[in-house]
């Protein structure tokens, strides 16, 4: 089942931080969810083709035609800060 370490790891991947209390809570919740999914394992899927997508639709393909883009003003409307037309962020290096 899911351990507290697993929850911590998933939180890290999502760049989230939780208190000890929250970690306990999520661990219990994750266990319940996984437990529920475990139930599905009881179904006999012998000879059933794997579902690779749940949508019954087929993706329509778009013609390669240029549509108007937003003005730069609009593009930057939600930017926390801007400079020379760029979104400006504190330095981030990989």
């Amino acid at each position: 089942m899911v351990s507290k370490e697993d929850v911590k790891y998933i939180a890290e991947l999502c760049k989230l931080k939780f208190s000890e209390e929250e970690l306990e809570e999520f661990t219990a919740e994750f266990c319940r969810i996984i437990g529920f999914v475990e139930l599905l394992k009881e179904v006999d899927t012998e000879g059933v083709e794997a579902t690779y997508h749940v949508s019954p639709k087929i993706q329509p393909l778009r013609e390669d035609k240029v549509e108007p883009s937003l003005s730069r003003e609009k593009v930057l409307q939600n930017a926390p800060e801007e400079q020379y037309g760029y979104f400006k962020l504190p330095r981030i290096m990989d």
Binding site: Q59, P68, Y86, L89, R91
Partner: protein
């Protein structure tokens, strides 16, 4: 060979569609910062991506050109990671079911052809571009975000940096042939990551794989691989191993430098992207695309051998790029001797281009001009050597050969009367050489001819001078 190097490549190629992969924003390089963006490629809530038909078509074209299997049902997946150049917190890519699987690229080695197998080719969106300023800020331009990419992944079938280079050259030439990408490394439309390690075949120990990134030219890629090959072998010889890490090539220091340690494989938590329904590719469409493929490098090479009677080597060189092959064929339309055209292009033209790091497209003169130059030589109006001189000027000024010859007064002197006085003068000034020649020193003849050529600034017809000098000495 005790040590065996294994090289696998991951190549990202931007497709030259008119619009981005999931929205109608223009896909072109160098637009004003943040002006090719819309709610879809900015990842604004509620925006719905719709797959570009041309992006799928171009990727299928590439798959067919590399002999891959094309999936008739596929899907897009989300690759989750956080980096500010990725607006949504996930990249729309393909995981389990790539559009194209398998296939190969055949490279021409000196000891024969070799097949480099492909694992897959999938489609995905490009990320935005970040610039790190000196003031410790990161600036982001999302014009590139959502540009269609194909990622081509090979098996580690290359055993030398040279094989990897040949593979990259062939891959680039083919992608340019089928016109799905301009493959300009300097503009980032072709980017290559390298996985490399070495096996000691005696002890069967192998080094951990090093990933090489940020290679901005094939030359840099080769240097980085050569450097790594040596580093891995040295560690093996010392009974040590490499750290499984990512390195980059430092152009100034001429060495690879650690970018990040591997510390656990990245966990991207791939999941199907439910904004995009299953993609169904009709067999008929695949056939249609197959039929629309232009002649590929290999077929063109075979045709050049057949049609122009060229040696295999010439045909191979001339079909390296579509532009070069087109230039050759176009020149031939106006010229008479296909092998002569090949000699001039492979010799003086390519050498000069290589020296100046230019492509055939950068030439200031056209195929017709080159054909006219050869015609001037073949008709005896100018000598071969003067022809080379004229070609040099054509490189620099793009001038027409006839005009250069006329303006510079380079027309070959083939008139005996005109040459007679010059030959006489040279002979009278070089009595000793005449004696030497008569005493059996053949070199003296060459010297005398050289003096006549010099006196005419290279314009005299060399065959004629040769004949006249001999005759006059005999008299």
């Amino acid at each position: 060979m005790r040590y065996k190097t294994m090289i696998g490549l991951e190549i990202h190629v931007e497709l030259m569609t008119k619009t981005k992969i999931f929205c109608g924003c223009p896909n072109d390089f160098g637009g004003d910062v943040n002006t090719h963006c819309c709610p879809v490629c900015l990842g604004l809530p509620g925006a719905l991506p719709v797959l570009n038909k041309s992006a799928v078509e171009y990727a299928i074209k590439a798959g067919l050109a590399f002999n891959s299997q094309i999936a008739t049902r596929t899907r897009m997946d989300r690759k989750n990671y956080f980096y500010p150049d990725l607006v949504k917190g996930y990249q729309i890519s393909q995981d389990e079911i790539p559009l194209c699987s398998g296939g190969y690229v055949e490279i021409e080695k000196e000891d024969g052809p070799k097949k480099i197998r492909l694992m897959r080719i999938h489609i995905e969106e490009d990320t935005g571009k970040s610039i790190h300023t000196e003031e410790a800020d990161t600036l982001l331009d999302y014009n590139r975000g959502g540009v269609p990419l194909i990622e081509i992944v090979t098996y580690p079938d290359m055993n030398t940096p040279e094989e990897a280079r040949l593979f990259l050259e062939k891959l680039r030439a083919t992608l340019k042939y089928i016109e799905v990408s301009d493959c300009k490394m300097e503009e980032g439309s072709l980017r290559c990551d390298i996985n490399i390690n070495v096996i000691d075949t005696q002890t069967n120990t192998r080094t951990n794989i090093t990933e090489l990134k940020n290679l901005n030219s094939f030359k840099a890629a080769v240097k980085a691989m050569e450097y790594e090959e040596k580093r891995h072998i040295a560690l093996l010889e010392a009974g040590k191993n490499t750290e499984g890490e990512t390195r980059r090539w430092d152009e100034v220091k001429n060495e690879t430098i650690v970018m990040r340690e591997k510390g656990g494989v990245a966990d991207y938590r791939y999941a199907p992207d439910f904004d995009i329904a299953p993609i169904v590719i009709e067999e008929e469409w695949i056939d249609e695309i197959r039929n629309s493929l232009p002649e590929l490098p290999h077929d063109k090479k075979e045709r050049f051998i057949r049609e122009y009677g060229l040696p295999e080597y010439d045909a191979g060189v001339l079909t390296q790029s579509k532009e070069l092959a087109d230039f050759y064929e176009e020149t031939n339309k106006y010229a008479k001797d296909p092998k002569q055209v090949s000699n001039w292009i492979m010799g003086d033209v390519l050498r000069r281009l290589k020296d100046e790091e230019l492509e055939i497209e950068d030439l200031k003169f056209g195929p017709k001009d080159l054909a006219h130059l050869l015609e001037l030589i073949n008709s005896g109006k100018i000598s071969n050597n003067i022809g080379k001189k004229v070609l040099r000027e054509m490189f620099e000024t793009g001038g027409k050969p006839e005009k250069i010859v006329k303006e510079r007064g380079l027309i070959q002197i083939s008139d005996e009367g005109e040459l007679e006085s010059i030959v006489k003068k040279v002979l009278s000034e070089n009595q000793q050489s005449i004696i030497d020649y008569k005493n059996g020193k053949d070199r003296a003849l060459g010297y005398l001819i050289g003096q006549v050529m010099k006196a005419t600034k290279g314009k005299a017809n060399p065959q004629l001078v040769n004949k006249m000098v001999r005759e006059m000495i005999e008299e």
